[in-house]
């Protein structure tokens, strides 16, 4: 069984999200600066109040987080770079929490953000990874859409999922997004709209895909003592897991690394899936959300379509899911997509979510998934956040 140590004494606080923009003339530096300012303001800190920084961004080039430290004028004794896309939120949290717990840093600001110029997405794709360059792009150049189309196709063959099953996830998230003033998508989405949307890479159509945009997300990790001293609402980290390149011999991805570590996650937290008041999955495509419900123990493998059919995934439903609209409806601001669920969950369990607030939210599961290096997502992670009053 797990020999993982607890995260006692460490908390997460000061969630901040910038509004998202479809296209921006600004740089990643601008968006990350905005997010840092936002999270510091939320905590009543000046920038010399932090001594640790964790950064996830795809568009900082030619800078790394080292360059960013000089750019933003922060002096640090702990600096981390998280190149893990959709898993960056969970991974940033785990590392920052251990750093604070071990006394390597007092207060760590975790940032994720990217800009989106007119041509950014195309450029990002063209230099994403060596395997993608060698073995994915030359074949139709559909980007991640094609890869997820293939595993959606396989998932449908294997488990009998239908387009309607995926559509219900997207439709519920749009409902949630309509409550979130920062979400890019402002129009309601019906199941019919979903089913009739323009095909992108069969069986994936327009509303299975996220909208690339510019924006940033941030939160702070500090000791509980520090948070209490500053009067900040916070969440505790009940359990986390992380896994990379799990199940490399699976001929096509139908499960992620969560399935390896799920028992550790729940036993560490002393909780079970039914205890969660809300779930934030990484929703780059609806099929991936289904995989997370399965691999994180909400239902058995291949059962997510049936499991979700009987549930209401909206903010007021019996299983609130991706309450800010998720990436499908709020937008995918590059690496910030890996923070979206984390920051929203933090708002939820600290009862700061405003219009998307789930009543009595105490426990939230946040899951991350990232980096389509070739034919599958390699990074996975999950964390359970618990509100202070819990």
């Amino acid at each position: 069984m797990s020999r993982r140590q607890s995260y006692d004494g460490v908390v997460v606080t000061a969630p901040f999200s910038t509004p998202y923009q479809r296209y921006s003339t600004q740089t990643a530096h601008y968006w990350l600066a905005r997010a840092l300012k936002g999270t510091l303001d939320a905590a009543g800190l000046r920038k010399d109040g932090i001594d640790g920084l964790s950064v996830a961004s795809f568009t900082l080039f030619p800078d790394s987080p080292v360059g960013l430290s000089q750019h933003l004028g922060v002096t640090l004794r702990w600096l981390d770079s998280i190149p893990m896309g959709g898993a960056s939120g969970v991974v940033a949290l785990r590392r920052a929490a251990r750093a604070v717990q071990a006394g390597d840093a007092e207060i760590v600001a975790c940032l994720a953000g990217d800009t989106n110029h007119i041509d950014s997405f195309r450029k990002l794709l063209s230099s994403f990874s060596r395997f993608a360059m060698d073995a994915a792009y030359p074949y139709g150049y559909g980007g991640p859409n094609s890869m997820f189309a293939l595993l959606t196709d396989r998932y449908m063959q294997e488990y009998g999922a239908t387009r309607e099953d995926f559509g219900r996830i997207a439709v519920a998230q749009r409902d949630n997004a309509l409550r979130n003033p920062n979400a890019l998508m402002k129009k309601p989405l019906s199941l019919e709209d979903y089913l009739e949307a323009r095909p992108i890479s069969d069986p994936i159509a327009l509303f299975d895909c996220v909208m690339p945009c510019a924006g940033a997300e941030a939160f702070l990790v500090m000791s509980e003592e520090e948070a209490v001293k500053r009067g900040l609402p916070f969440a505790r980290v009940a359990g986390t897991i992380e896994r990379h390149n799990a199940f490399p011999d699976d001929p096509i991805q139908l499960r992620g690394g969560w399935a390896v570590d799920v028992e550790d996650l729940w036993s560490m937290a002393g909780m079970k899936p039914a205890d969660m008041d809300l779930v934030q999955t990484y929703d780059d495509y609806p099929v991936i959300s289904m995989m997370q419900f399965e691999d994180l123990g909400f239902c058995g493998k291949g059962e997510a379509p049936a499991f979700l059919r009987d549930r209401d995934l909206t903010v007021t439903g019996d299983l609130p899911h991706n309450t800010s609209g998720g990436q499908l409806s709020a937008g995918q601001a590059g690496a910030a997509g890996g923070f979206l669920g984390m920051v929203e969950a933090l708002r939820q369990v600290t009862r700061n979510a405003g219009p998307t607030q789930v009543a009595d939210a105490k426990h939230a599961l946040v899951s991350g998934f990232g980096m389509i290096n070739y034919d599958r997502g390699l990074c996975s992670g999950a964390a359970i956040l618990t509100g202070e009053s819990a």
Binding site: M133, A135, P199
Partner: protein, 416 residues
């Protein structure tokens, strides 16, 4: 079932010409192994020398045992198509134009799962065969085709895009006087070529091949003298816009190496035809072909040079001629790189001794014209860069791969 490819309509000169754009061309050095194999039409994957694991995508270390010696070896190309998709939209201009484009995941019997192009006749859940092909960018790619032949299989738009099939294309054969010219013209017409232009120099001088060529429907004899720049330019002015495949079969040869000849007269003639002739052709026809690389069904697709296998290793019995073949091969490499932006392939057909007067001293096996013609057509269909025509050429190529220096000594064997 694949719909048969319709004969293309006459080109509308008022329409804007479609500019050639290419699929993504960048590859890691390891991945170039796939391209090298595709250039010969062979399906090879990386095999670990230590543990034998077969892996894909190409790596710099064995994914199974971290062994560093990775060999590109012929591999069982059969596997199951386990998932597929049709890409409708792409940020890449080439695939945007080609859409919808079918791709899929094939789980090879040899182990790895491979994301690849998928022929329209492949059935999901069925066995398919992977082919290595060069795409329009000149890079190696993999395409799944049905295990058994299907009607009009070659007309599948993805497969056609990866080759230079003569069907519905217009061809120029540069030298009608070569003994193999009629067989070549016939093979191309049989393969569905719309038109075969055949060049002839010194038209006043009769030659036996002419009557055979004249009789063929679809053959047009055109004056062409490769030693005369203005003749080449003139023909390019006339038909340059409708040559989709250019086959340079011209050859001037005399026996002898360096010391057997008292002067440079024949050497000059050899270079004039075999090397400078190719350059004149390339300068006159190359730019137009490069610009017409995306011109619909009968776009410019390939440039073929028919050379002696001794272009790669000299046989001193024909030492001076072979030097001109080496020069032509080197120039063809340059031409290949220069035509690549247009998506036009450059193919070399390496021939062993041909069964004609100039190789009368050489013992068999010797190449008959029909064999060369079949090799050219097959090479075009497969879109390869190197065709080893006949047993002698295949044998030399194998020995050359093993050790060029040893082959040089072997070829010089009877020189004392």
């Amino acid at each position: 079932m694949t719909d048969p490819l319709a004969r293309p309509p006459k080109k509308n000169p008022q329409k804007v010409q479609t500019v050639p754009v290419l699929p993504p061309a960048f590859r890691s050095r390891a991945a170039m192994g796939l391209t090298a194999a595709a250039a010969e039409g062979r399906f090879k994957l990386q095999h670990c020398a230590e543990c034998g694991a077969v892996q894909y995508p190409p790596r710099d270390a064995c994914v199974s045992c971290l062994g560093l010696e990775l060999l590109w070896k012929d591999t069982d190309p059969v596997g199951e198509l386990i998932a597929d998709t049709v890409v409708h939209t792409s940020p890449n201009l080439y695939f945007r134009r080609q859409a919808p484009w079918r791709c899929g995941t094939v789980r090879l019997n040899a182990g790895p799962s491979i994301f690849c192009h998928v022929h329209g006749d492949c059935l999901k859940g069925s066995d398919v065969r992977l082919l290595s092909r060069l795409d329009r960018a000149g890079q190696g790619v993999l395409i799944a085709i049905p295990k058994e032949t299907t009607p009009n299989m070659a007309d599948d738009p993805e497969l056609r895009e990866l080759g230079a099939d003569p069907k519905h294309r217009r061809v120029l054969i540069t030298d009608g006087r070569q003994p193999g010219a009629p067989a070549l013209a016939k093979a191309l017409l049989d393969a569905g070529a719309m038109t075969v232009f055949v060049g002839e120099g010194e038209t006043w001088r009769p030659y036996p091949e002419r009557s055979a060529l004249e009789k063929m429907d679809g053959v047009h004899l055109m004056p062409l003298d490769l030693t005369d720049t203005s003749s080449v330019v003139e023909l390019a002015g006339e038909i340059g816009g409708k040559v989709d495949i250019l086959i340079n079969n011209a050859r001037f040869m005399r026996p002898g190496g360096v010391l057997a000849r008292g002067d440079t007269a024949f050497a000059r003639d050899e270079m004039e035809v075999n090397y400078l002739g190719l350059m004149r052709l390339a300068q006159a026809f190359g730019p137009g072909m490069k610009a017409r690389g995306a011109d619909g069904i009968n776009n410019a697709a390939a440039w073929v040079n028919i050379l002696s296998i001794n272009a790669i290793a000299n046989d001193p019995a024909y030492g001076s001629f072979n030097a001109s073949q080496a020069a032509a091969l080197s120039l063809a490499q340059s031409l290949r790189a220069e035509l690549r932006p247009g998506g036009v392939k450059v193919m070399t057909v390496f021939c062993g001794p041909t069964d004609d007067d100039w190789y009368q001293d050489v013992p068999p096996p010797k190449l008959l014209p029909g064999a060369v013609a079949r090799s050219v057509v097959q090479g075009l269909r497969d879109g390869v860069e190197d065709v080893w025509c006949g047993d002698v050429a295949k044998d030399y190529a194998e020995r050359w791969r093993q050790d060029p220096r040893v082959l040089e000594r072997e070829l010089a064997g009877d020189m004392g």
